[in-house]
Every structure is written in C-alpha cells, then in structure tokens.
Symmetry: C5
Subunit: 354 residues, 5 copies
Amino acid sequence: MPRVVSKNSEKTDNHLVNVLQIKDAKAGRVRITLIDYDESNLVEKEITHIQECKVFREKQTVTWINVDGIHKLDIIDDLGRIFDLHPLILESITTKNQRPKIEDFGNYIFVILKMLHYDEKHARVNGEQVSIVLGHNFVLSFQESKGEVFNPIRGWIRNNKGKIRKMGADYLMYSLIDAVVDNYFVILERLGEKIECLEEALVNNPKPETLGIIHRIKKDMIFMRKSVWPLREVIAALERIGSPLIRKSTQLYLKDVYDHTIQVIDTIEESRDMLSGMTDIYLSSLSNRLNEVMKVLTVIATIFIPLTFITGVYGMNFRYMPELESRLGYPGAWLVMLLIAIIMLIYFRRRKWV
Amino acid sequence: MPRVVSKNSEKTDNHLVNVLQIKDAKAGRVRITLIDYDESNLVEKEITHIQECKVFREKQTVTWINVDGIHKLDIIDDLGRIFDLHPLILESITTKNQRPKIEDFGNYIFVILKMLHYDEKHARVNGEQVSIVLGHNFVLSFQESKGEVFNPIRGWIRNNKGKIRKMGADYLMYSLIDAVVDNYFVILERLGEKIECLEEALVNNPKPETLGIIHRIKKDMIFMRKSVWPLREVIAALERIGSPLIRKSTQLYLKDVYDHTIQVIDTIEESRDMLSGMTDIYLSSLSNRLNEVMKVLTVIATIFIPLTFITGVYGMNFRYMPELESRLGYPGAWLVMLLIAIIMLIYFRRRKWV
Amino acid sequence: MPRVVSKNSEKTDNHLVNVLQIKDAKAGRVRITLIDYDESNLVEKEITHIQECKVFREKQTVTWINVDGIHKLDIIDDLGRIFDLHPLILESITTKNQRPKIEDFGNYIFVILKMLHYDEKHARVNGEQVSIVLGHNFVLSFQESKGEVFNPIRGWIRNNKGKIRKMGADYLMYSLIDAVVDNYFVILERLGEKIECLEEALVNNPKPETLGIIHRIKKDMIFMRKSVWPLREVIAALERIGSPLIRKSTQLYLKDVYDHTIQVIDTIEESRDMLSGMTDIYLSSLSNRLNEVMKVLTVIATIFIPLTFITGVYGMNFRYMPELESRLGYPGAWLVMLLIAIIMLIYFRRRKWV
Amino acid sequence: MPRVVSKNSEKTDNHLVNVLQIKDAKAGRVRITLIDYDESNLVEKEITHIQECKVFREKQTVTWINVDGIHKLDIIDDLGRIFDLHPLILESITTKNQRPKIEDFGNYIFVILKMLHYDEKHARVNGEQVSIVLGHNFVLSFQESKGEVFNPIRGWIRNNKGKIRKMGADYLMYSLIDAVVDNYFVILERLGEKIECLEEALVNNPKPETLGIIHRIKKDMIFMRKSVWPLREVIAALERIGSPLIRKSTQLYLKDVYDHTIQVIDTIEESRDMLSGMTDIYLSSLSNRLNEVMKVLTVIATIFIPLTFITGVYGMNFRYMPELESRLGYPGAWLVMLLIAIIMLIYFRRRKWV
Amino acid sequence: MPRVVSKNSEKTDNHLVNVLQIKDAKAGRVRITLIDYDESNLVEKEITHIQECKVFREKQTVTWINVDGIHKLDIIDDLGRIFDLHPLILESITTKNQRPKIEDFGNYIFVILKMLHYDEKHARVNGEQVSIVLGHNFVLSFQESKGEVFNPIRGWIRNNKGKIRKMGADYLMYSLIDAVVDNYFVILERLGEKIECLEEALVNNPKPETLGIIHRIKKDMIFMRKSVWPLREVIAALERIGSPLIRKSTQLYLKDVYDHTIQVIDTIEESRDMLSGMTDIYLSSLSNRLNEVMKVLTVIATIFIPLTFITGVYGMNFRYMPELESRLGYPGAWLVMLLIAIIMLIYFRRRKWV
C-alpha cells in the first residue's frame, strides 16, 4: 500500500526521504523497444501498441522488451497482463526508490536494481530504478528514463558479437545486471579522482569548503552502499535459487558479477575509511593554522609590550626623575630595550616559535 | 511481574527510562469499535458492553475489534476472557513501552508494535504501543489513545475498496501492520526535511543551537531504530511461523512489509551517518570562525603594537634626544612607521591572512 | 583455581580489576532463612544449624533456602554436602565477581547472576553476586549481603498472593530472576533521570564537571551491560535447556524475563549513544565559549589599539609638529579617532561579532 | 617456511612487527625438568641427556617434561623424535610470536598459548609463548625462558595437594592453562590500578604525559586481547574436540577456564571503552584550560586597553586642550577611568568570566 | 565484461579507482619459465614457443610454468588452450586488480591472490596480482611483472632442499601461496618500524607532516586488509574444498598458511587501532602547544598592560597633578608597579602557568 504515502512526498528530492515516491517524469513519453533473437534471426522494433508483444511471447526465440518510463500505469498493467505478472510486481515496478530485491514466482523471476549516474552539474550521484523480469524465453526491463547503459548490449546482439546470441534469456538478464554493475566502477573511479584531488588540496591549501565536499562524497558513498549492499544478496540469491530459468552455464557468469559487487562494496568501505581520515587531517590543519597565527601574535606582542612599558616609564612627567637629566639616559634606554628584545628572541628561538 | 516496577516510574516522560510504566491517560475514556465483515456483509458499531462481542466471535465473518485506551484493566480482562487469551498477553497489552514482539499461542498470534507520531509542537517523535491479536476469523487491536492511522483501512472495508473484503483476518492484520510501517515513512520524510534544512544552515550560518537540533534528531533516530529493529524480526517471524492462521497468499504481502521495514532501517542508519558527519562540519566551522577572529586580532595588533612603541620612544622626556630637535624628526618618524606597516601587510598578504 | 589469585587482590575496589576476589564482608554474620511451602502449608524459619535443612530436602514441598553472606566457606561446604553439589559450584558461589552463567548438572541447575544497586552516596552502580541452585523441589539462593530485592517474593509466599504457592520450585527460581531483572529497570530509570538533568545542564550552563559525570554514567552503563549481556544468554539457555526441572508452563514466564533483559540491553545501548552525543555537545559548547571570549577581546583590542597609536603620535615630543600648534589639532584628533572607531564597529557588525 | 622471514626481523622489539621472529635468548641455557607421578609415586629430576626421557614415556604414570628455552633446535628435535611429534609442531614450538592455536593429531594434542608478564621497569605488558603437547600419559611444556607461573603446580604435585595427583595428564594440561589464564587477572589488576590512578590524575591535574600513558595502556590492552581472543577459541575447541585424551571429568574444568577467558575479554573491552572516554576528558580539559587562560587575558586586556587610551589622550601635546588646564581635569580623568573599569567588571561578572 | 570498463580507466594509478583496469607494462616482454621435476629428475628452461609446454603436460612429473607479464592476451589464450582452461579464467588472469578468490573447476583449481611490495621511493605499499592454476601434475602461475618472491622456491627445487621435490603439485602451490603470505610479514615489519618512529616523533617533536604520514600508513593498512581479508577465505576454502587435487598431507600445511593470514589480519587491525590512537595524541599535542603559546602571551600581557597604564597616567599633561611634584612620586610609581608585577606573578604561579 505504499502508493498512499507516495502522493504527499513528491515535492522533495532528497536521498533520505524519497523512499517510496512516484515522481512523474515531466511530460515523459514511454518508449518501448523489442528485440527478438536467436542465433540466426533478429527482429528489432519499437512497440507502439502493447498487444504487438503477444506474438513474440509464444515464439521460442529470446524476446527482450525494454520500457523507458514507468509513470504510465496502464501500459505497465497491459504488459503485466500479457506476461501474467502478479499485481504486487506491477506495483513494485512503478514504485520508485525501492530496495534492490529478488522474488522468484516460479515461472518468472523478478529483480529490482539501482542504476547510478554521476551528475556532473550538481556533483552528486543519482539513482534510477531498474526492474527486470526473467521468464521462459523473455526478459522485460523497466527504466525510469531513457539511459545509455544498455546500448552496448543492443550492439552485441545486433552485430552477433560475443556469445550473447548463442545463449538464452538468462544470459541476457546477466548481461543487463553486469552492465549496471560495471557502471558502478565508472562512478567509483570518478569519486576516486575527486578524493585524490581533495587529498592534495588538504595538504597544500585546505579551505573551509573542503569539509563540505568531503561530506558530499561521504553522502554519495552512503547512497551507493545503500544500492549495492542489497544487490550483493540479490545476485547471491540468483545463483543459489535453483530455478530452471537459470542454466548452469550462466551461474558461472553470475558468480563473476557477484565478485564485482563485492569489489564495489570493498572499495566503498575503503573510501569511507579514507574520507574519515581526511576529516581528521582537515581539523588538525585548522588547529595548526591557529597555532601559527597565535605564535605570530604572541611573538610580536611579548617583544613589544615590555618595550612600550619602558617608553611609558620615561614618558612620565614626574619632576624628579634622575635618568631624564643624564646624557646617557636616552642611549641607555635603547640599550635596555634592545637587550630585552634579544633575550625574548632567544627564548622564542629555543621554543622553535621563530 | 513488571507491574510492580511500573508504579513508581510514572513521573518521568523520558524515552530512556519509561520502559515498563503504565501511564494512565488523564481521564481517558476507553472506546471500543467493532467491524464485522465478509465479502457481502458489513456490521460496524461502537461497543459499550463488552459482552456484545461474544456473538461475533462465533460467526464465520471477519471480526475486527479495536480498543482505544488500555488503562482500564477490567475491560481488557473481560475481552481476554471472551477470546480465551493467556493472562501474560493481557499483562503485555496493558504494560506500555514494551519491545515489539510476536508470540504464537497456537490458536491465536499476539503481536506488539510501536506506532510513531511526529509531535510538531515539541519537535520530537513520540511512540505509542499497538497490540494485535490474530485469531481464527477475528483481529483485536489495542491502541494507547485514539489515532487516525487505521482510518484508511476502515474506509477500504466500508467502501469495499481493494481486496480487503475478499480476504481473511490475516490480511486484515497485514493491513494494520502495513499502515503502521507506512506511517514510519511519513516521519522519516519529516526528519529528512529537517536534516536538509540543517545542512544548509550549517554551510550558511552555523549557530550554537544547531548541534542541539542535530542531537534531538539523533535521539529521534535512535528511538525509531529501537522501534523498527525488533519489528523486522517480528514480521520475519510472522512470515516463517507456518501458522495455519496465516494463508500462503498473505505471506507474499508480509514479505512486502518486511522489505519496507528493511528500507526504514536502511534510511535510519543512513541518516545517523549523515548526522555524525554534520557534527564534524559544525565543529570545524567553529574552528574556522575562531581562526578568522584570531587573524583579525593578530593583524591589527601586530601592525599597531610596533608603531605604538615608536610613538612611545619619542614621547620619552629625556633631556638629550637628538631626533627631537631635528626638523626631519617628525616626518621621519611617520616614514618609519609607514614602512613598518607596509612590511607587515606584505608579510600577512603572503600568508593569506589579509 | 581462582582462589590463588584472589588473595592478593582484596585491596582494590575497582570494577575493572576485582574480577576474582573474595572480599570478606566486615565482621559479617551469615544469615540463613528457610521457607518451605506448598499450596496449603508454609514453614518459615531462620536456620542456625545447617543440618536442619536435611529434613526439608526429603519433603515433597518446595524448599527455598536463602543464604546472606558467602564468606564462611564451611557453611557453604556443609550445605553443598547436604544437597550433593559439585565442588566447582561451591567454589563458584564463594568466588565473587563471576560472569553470569548457567550450568546444568542433570539433577540440579546452577545459575549465577548479578544484582545491581544504585549507591546514591557515591553516585555509582554497585553489583552483588547472586547464585541460585534449582533442584528437584528445592531452590538455594546465595547473596553477598542481606538485600531487600527478594522481600516481595517472601511476601507473596506468606500471603499466598499470585500463583507462586501453586507452582513448583522452577517458578520460584523464575520469580527470583525476575526480581533481579526488574530491579535493573529501577536503576536505569535513576540513570535516565541523571542523563535528562545533564542534557538540560549542557544547554543552559555547561561546567567542567559535566564531562566527569557523563564519564561516570558511561562507566555505570558499561558495568550494567557487562552484567546483563551474559544474563540474556543465561535465560535463553534456561528456556532451551530442556531440563525436566523446568516445566513447560514456566518456560513462557522465562521468555517474558528474556524479553525484559533484551529491553534492558536496548536501553543501555540507547543511553550510550546518547551519552556520546552529549560529549560532542559539551566539547562544542567549550569551543563556542572560547569563540565568544575571543570575539570580545578582538573587538575591544582592534578598536582601541589604533586609537592608542594616534594618541601616542601626538604625545611625541618632537619640536616641529605643526598639528600640535593648530587650534583644530585636538578636536581634529578626536574626530579621526571617532571615525576609526565607527568604521571598526561597522566592520564587526557586518561580521556579526557585535 | 616462516623461518626464512624470521632471520631479518630479529632487530626489532615491537609488538606489531615481531610476528614470526626467533630471538635467541642471550647466552640462554636450556633447562629441562621432568616430573613423573601417579597417586603414590613421584620422580622429579632435571634432564641433562634428552634420551633419559625415553624410559618415562613407556611408564603408565603421568610424565611432565618442561623445557625452559626454545632456541636450541636440536634439543627440541630430539624430544620430538622420542615423542613422535610432527615436524610442523617442532617448527611451531621454536617459532616465537605465534597466534594461540590448537591442533589435534589424534594421538596427541598440540596447544600454543601466550603467557603474559607485566614489566614494571618499562611499564608494559610482555608476552612469552608457551607450547603444550598432551599425549597419552605425558605432557610436554615449552617456555621461552624460565618463569614462575608453573611453580604452584609443581608444589601441588610434590605435596600431593588438591586432586592433581589423582587425575591424569589431561588434568595436568588443564592446570597449566589455568595457571596461564589466572596470571592474566593479575596483569588486568595491575593495569586497572593504573587506569584508576589516571582517572584521578585527569580530574585533579591533567598533564601532557597523561595521554601518552593512556596510549601505552591501550596498546597493552590491544596486545592482551590479541593473546586472549584466540585462546578462547582454543579452549572451546579443547572442550568440544571429543579426543579420547581428554576425560569427561576434565571437560568441566575446561569449561571453567573458558569462562575465565571470557571474563578477561570482557574486562579488556570494558577497559578500552573506559580509556577512550578518558581521552575525551583529557582533550576537553585542555580546552577548558585554554578557556581559562583566554578569559584572564581578555578580562585584563579589555579593562586596561580603554583606560590606557584615555591616559594616551591626555598625554598628547596639543597646545589647546581645555581639559588640561582645568583643576578638575586630573580627578575627572580618574573618575571616568574608574567608571569604565566598573562597567567592564559588571559586564564580565554577568558573563560569569570573573 | 569488465574489459569494456577497463579501457577508459587506464590513466589513474589510485588504489581506490583502478579496480578493473588493464595497465600495460611499458614495453614489457612476457617471460615464461618452466620447471619440470620429480624426486630424481629436473628440467628447467625458458619457453619461447608456447607449444613447447604441451609435452610436459602429459608427463607424470610436476610441471611449473611461471608467466611474468599478463598483457599479451594471445600468449595467455594459447596457454589456456593447451591446459583446457575456461575462458572466464583467462579473462580473470588478464584483468588486473581483482579480489583474491578461488574457483574449483573440477579438474583444476584457480586461485587469485595479491602480492605486495613496499615501494621505498614513494613510501607506499603496491600490489600485484598473482594467479595460480593447480591441475593434475601441473601448476601455472601468472605475475604482472618479474618479481623475486618465488626465487627461494626455485632454489629449493634446484637444490632438492626440503621436501618440495618429494611432494606433488599441490605442495608446490602451497609453497607459492606461502611465499606470498610470508612476504606480507616483511611489509608489516617495515610499516611497524615506521609506526614506532612516528610514535617517538609524536612525543618529542610533533610536526604538521606527522598526520599526513599516519594517513599514508592507514591507507596502506586498508590496502593490505583489502588484499588479505579475502585471501583468508580463499585458503580456508582450499582446505575444505575436498578436491582430489589436494592431498591430505598438504592440508596440514595449508592450515599453517591459514594461521599466518589470520596473524597478518590481527596485526593489521592492531596497527589501525594504534594509528587512530596516535591521531588523538597528535591532536592533543596541538592543543597543548596552543595552550603553551597562549600562556606565555597571557602572562606577559597581563603583567605589562596594567604597568603601562600606570606610566600612561603619569604621562598625562594635566596642569594640576600633585603626585608629579612630589620627590617620592617617581620611586613611588616604581614601587606600585613592582607590587602589581609581583602579585600577578604569584597569581600565575598558583595557577601553574609560570
């Protein structure tokens, strides 16, 4: 029943809160593409009437239907009816910001994952929900908006590159998941570069903004972990699930993606450790600079305050001050002041303040 | 035997300490409502004499009795006798601030959960205990005070919306739990908005109060986690329990609520990470401002202290001071002072303090 | 062989170190009370000669022997011989500061727990070891000193209140454990009140002592956790142990105590989270106050240091200083100084330091 | 093949790095003592020729051979040949700084543990490796250097105290392990006393060295945990291993040692929590003292800087300054200065700085 | 499909990001060496044509082929064809920066591990991927570049030292892994020495760079943990895997390496604890120094500011100032100033600032 909640949560765009919202893409058109292939044949078309899909369902060839845009509930519902999907699945597909999960319904397997993009403009990581249904000889995939992550796979199918045309629908699903996970590495690399820049900036020229940027990257890392951590379980479940829909030969490939998700998680944890170490360095560099400032003030003040006192003494207007009358008074005063200054400087040099 | 303890703990209203107390709602009336339905029939009434419930127990229709107010022990006891509840359950229902838990007594299942409200006035999250008993064809629900969270469910039953009228008592219990969990998202969203505001305030204008507000939200998050964490286990147990009271078809829905509780927990952990990052930023902004203040003081002081020393020198009253007699004395002094000031400024500019 | 160690560790009274010591109660008398009951009969007496217990062992009534004071090894040894206890148990009973544990010897079960007291005078939590032996129709309990926690249970037995007289020795043991656990809530409440006071003090008037008090409460929380955490496992083991000494009906009650220990642990963890948040607030309030102090110093110093320089200039004794001769010199100097002061104040107002 | 590494790691004496080194005791003699006993007979002798041991191996009495010094590889090898030990064991015995572990070779069990000493001179905890081989009717024990921890056991055997002479080789091994674990408590007590001293020092008179001492104790705690944590698993394995070499009656005693190791671990964790709390207190006391220092400076400076400005004003040499001529000028100036000082003091009193 | 990603990630050399890249060794030649041995025979040669290996595969002697350089994909492919390796393995071998893992393909076992080097020039730990394939009577090993870690093993085989010539291919694989793990200890020792140096530096002369070095070592520790942690699981799996390729006698040796990896992990965790303690000490030493600086400033300023005020008073030019005319005026002023200075010094001495 999450749809109830979702209505009043549309306004905010925060990672934390938008847990169940349905945010309609503005004026978004839903685009449905179909690729139907086996080793020797290939059909690729854009679907305009959802009932066109029906024919392909019966065929023994692998059918991949990709839906860009999940805001038109009626289209999803129609597709669900053609492929006999449970209503809860249709609800899951159209409810954004769900946790990656897998559900095995016997004659099809339903997987939700998170595709991530690095938004260079706002310097933050964005997420998009991808739902995949694997059935007998068909794969349905749903994206929130048109993306480019699946394009290489389309290319391999078109050009019969690699073994994708020789394998079944399960290998196609593996390829989709693998494309999503590979994309995580691209983002990690982008964030890693930013961390490296920050590390250099910390040493050479720490600024008040630095901590804000560290915090921003930390948030991105938390967001990524939230996406990848459950994905690990999802892929492990896919491997173990023992469904007839997933062949033995594909399991080996799934184990490979599994290893990649572990690597992503390792890298995220590593970065978080590193980032908290950087916070310490930043805070200590602030202290160091305060120390520097205070040393300058202290050195100047402690040298000149006693000297000024002496000038004050001989600026007094008492009638009877023997020193004032003496010829040696003025040079003597200078001598005393010089001595004081030198002693002070020696003291500061010993303490390594100068 | 917790009732022994509870008596002397009524005075305090602290999350930490009121673990077992019974705090009587002031002058609270107990309100009992009964809804009895199947697909075609519906009876809805307010119960004044507890014995009225007896008739409905025997009927094959689904009976939902909701009790608002748990401070009148005799009413709970009477109800317990009608539905054959174990004395320990009755004690649990009337003892506030219990940990969410599930107990399977064979012919009925007993569940305790925590309903949360965001109290805008005191800007804090409050909790209320909800106890649910699921038996054969009946559901009993107990709330500490009259709330509105279950109203949509009443509406669906009245208007025969969704499939609730077609399903059994187990689906009704699922709906109640789902309503409670969905409400958590509303609160998380409210807290998320506050965190977002704080983040902006931290960057633009950090104030001493900020850390207090962060601490307040942290406390709310700890309080929520304490409520949701055991709930996760409760729902998992409900799924696995294998009780004949819970049908196969409902288990799928329970899995859905389970996923939602995980999402709530994820979001809480995420927020806590974020909040502790914000504490760091706040502390560093304090240091930064101290640095700013000290720099201003140091620049002003280190420029003027030497100059004042020079004026002090020529304010001395020695009889024999050759400079004083010279026509160039006064402009010369100004020149020296200007030079010192300029050298100092160049030094500070190099250090980027000006 | 812990007795070897214990001898040279008597001097210290520290939570950390007194892990195995036997600290003789000063001039303590051992007091042994016996209560023997079934539903209709009740014998209550103070034992002076340990052999009096023998008669009660044979009877089919429930016999509860409570020993206050564990420093007289011969008494414990005699009792052990009458009830056929293993030497390791006798050693455990007389060795203070053991970890809560359970051991099942077949014909009796041995449990060690920790009774806690809040010592208002030293404002700290103290612990006392309680050992319980549950055998067929008898319960032996050993306390370090005379306490009042078991008094309500004595009252219930005497006045035949509740079902305790109808139940067996296992229910008696449950009641003793429950009394100990309920007492934890009282202490948590006391500590919770102190935390609440501290929180207010932190906001209104933080003092150097505050952190000391936070540390003190943290230590108490660590001490409590050390006592309660293993108790949780002990009670879980009691539930699962499948001993014929523990009836089915009592297991339900044990589950209830188990839930309470979990709640105690939750509350302890919650408090610790809260306390570490409070340390942050305290430290930041120190920084805030330093900032305040420094701002005042900086404002005063940066306004008056330039002004004092100007007065210094016109206090110089150069013979040729045109300004000194002018009628407008003095008011002009005032004007310049006022201007400087105003500009400074505007600058500080902009920076929000005034 | 760790011997390869060990050669070039002899120079350092750091807990962290000396993981596999063999550090020859300087000019150390290897001392081998043999005790052979049953309930009625006792032979105790120092072994000079390793072949003397052979006779005792065949006897049905319990034979305990203790080797002080593990740097003479040939002696260990000879002994290994007599008792049929696997080469890997001999390597383990002579390789220092191994992790506590247990290995069951069927006809003998091999255990490595860590004996700890508190080195009062350097105020640090040192470790020494103890290897124990339990076979049928024999126990071999290997220490790095001559220690006193096993002396009480020798005493019990000589004087037939306790049941050690009545029990088998397994009980002897238990006694050795128990002696090692009991010694941990002595060290914990010593460290606990130091922590208590530190706590008082923190409150009354924190010094820069304090944090160094805290760090030193933390290191010791980490070192102890590294020794005790795997020991826990070793003893648990000994209990569970189901080897015919360990009798049922001894298992009860092993459970007792197991409980003690848990207690040691608990105490270590407790101490570490406490120590990190103390670091916070120390850091805050530094801040507090800085605040104190700054308040004194600020109060003195802000009171006298304006006053000095006023004296500066009337120290100017303008020809036309009406106040200077007035009889009330001087007392008036004093009045103004007193007023300013009083206003400042009231302001500081309000802010609680004075 | 990681090869897709790897192409555009070649530019960076960061631990964090280079997760899947293939970085071609500059102008690197691939060097293939073959050692074929049994107890009595030994063939050692450098392979120039990959087909030479074919003959050795059929022989019953142990064949070890080591490949230095993994950037020539065709060579790896050829080798793969000769030894019937799965394409996924070949991809894993040539993809750098993989997580240590093990895969059992029935007739061969595939292991990836991480060899570490301490790069003295950049003062950082570098990693290199080592892949090992264990088949029936053959071992293939792949390194990124020519290293020296396997040289001792080559020596043992050549000189028939130890039992390596008497054992099978599984013992050879064990020896390779053992060499890699032993090398970890060398690096830990190097890092341990650096930590020891840092600890001394922290106490005697903390510098701003210190925290940077701590951060650097922390990063190395995180990097090592990332390499060793999964290796632990790999070796545990090797032990448990029950493959006919690994003999019983070798399992004992694998358990030994396993213990070593645990020790490495323990030491890494220990170091990390120590390093974070050192950060605290560093930060507190900064505070201490600030305190020192501020005390000097405060003492000098608070002594001389009041004195300067007094000289200011008697430097005023009021016509009517009785003190100025008195003979005792000047010495009296000195007396007052001396008194003030002495009182101040006593006050500071009491506060232990002097």
